[in-house]
Amino acid sequence: MPMTPGLRKSVLAAHLTFSVGWTGTVVAYLALGVSAVTSQDALTVRAAWIAMELIGWNVIVPFALAALSTGIVISLGTPWGLFRHYWVLISLALTALSTIVLLDHMPTVSSLADVAREADDADLAGGLGGDLFHPGVGLLVLLVITVLNVYKPRGMTRYGWRKQHEQRKVPQPEQVSSSK
């Protein structure tokens, strides 16, 4: 269903905000992850893990869900569609996959944050380990999605091609009225 221009701009603004916010927060999470890995200070390691849990559940997860849902809404409300163009389809798949991996990974982060809260300083100073793989790959995927959304490389799916020809065969209301 086509959106009105005002609604389309509102949803687009929300989608951009959530998407860029998601990327920015992952960068902050990555910085905390690096601190958790490299620091020999127990207080820093403990604080990093607690902050990673808080940022993960309170910011990254809501932003991911919001970016995914607003992306779906704006795709369905514009001529791009959800399954018609490869760049939209790939962006949707990568966003959905990233969200699923995030939701699957966050309980592990919570477990590690609990360990960091309860562990002795000596244990933490020895290193609790870090979480660089997930945010690193996640950031790479988010950047790929951003590039796809900005450049919008051409190429229709077979479904999109078929739908386009079906729409051309159906006479538009203006054409019907003008032919009478």
């Binding site: 791009w80 163009h85 490869y86 699957d104 309980p107 592990t108 793989f133 077979r158």
Partner: protein, 104 residues
């Protein structure tokens, strides 16, 4: 006095004619063949996007046969498969990537 005249012929060739009247050289004519691809480009730029404010020009032109999967999608897929295999190998060799194993 100098006059400049621009014409586009039926076969898509732009001709620019410069005439100098009253001078000793008499008549100067210069034709520039810009090529069909430039003319096509100009025509395409002139077409308004369906939603110009949202950059929603889907760039879909007319055609009857499905042109197939674009090259960039194939390249993207190959790179993605290679990366996934690489990650799988790293996980298989080096154990799990997270300091704590995922629950059952």
């Amino acid at each position: 006095m100098m006059t400049i005249q621009a014409n586009i012929t039926g076969n898509g060739i732009a001709v620019l004619t410069i005439r100098s009247v009253g001078s000793t050289t008499g008549f100067i004519s210069l034709g520039l063949r810009l090529g069909e691809f430039l003319l096509r480009g100009a025509t395409k730029l002139a077409d308004p996007a369906p939603y110009p404010d949202s950059n929603s020009d889907t760039g879909v032109g007319p055609g009857r046969e499905y042109p197939g999967i674009p090259r960039w999608v194939k390249a993207f897929g190959i790179v993605a498969v290679v990366l996934v295999l690489l990650v799988a190998i790293i996980i298989f060799i080096g154990g799990h990537t997270s300091p704590v194993q995922h629950g059952p």
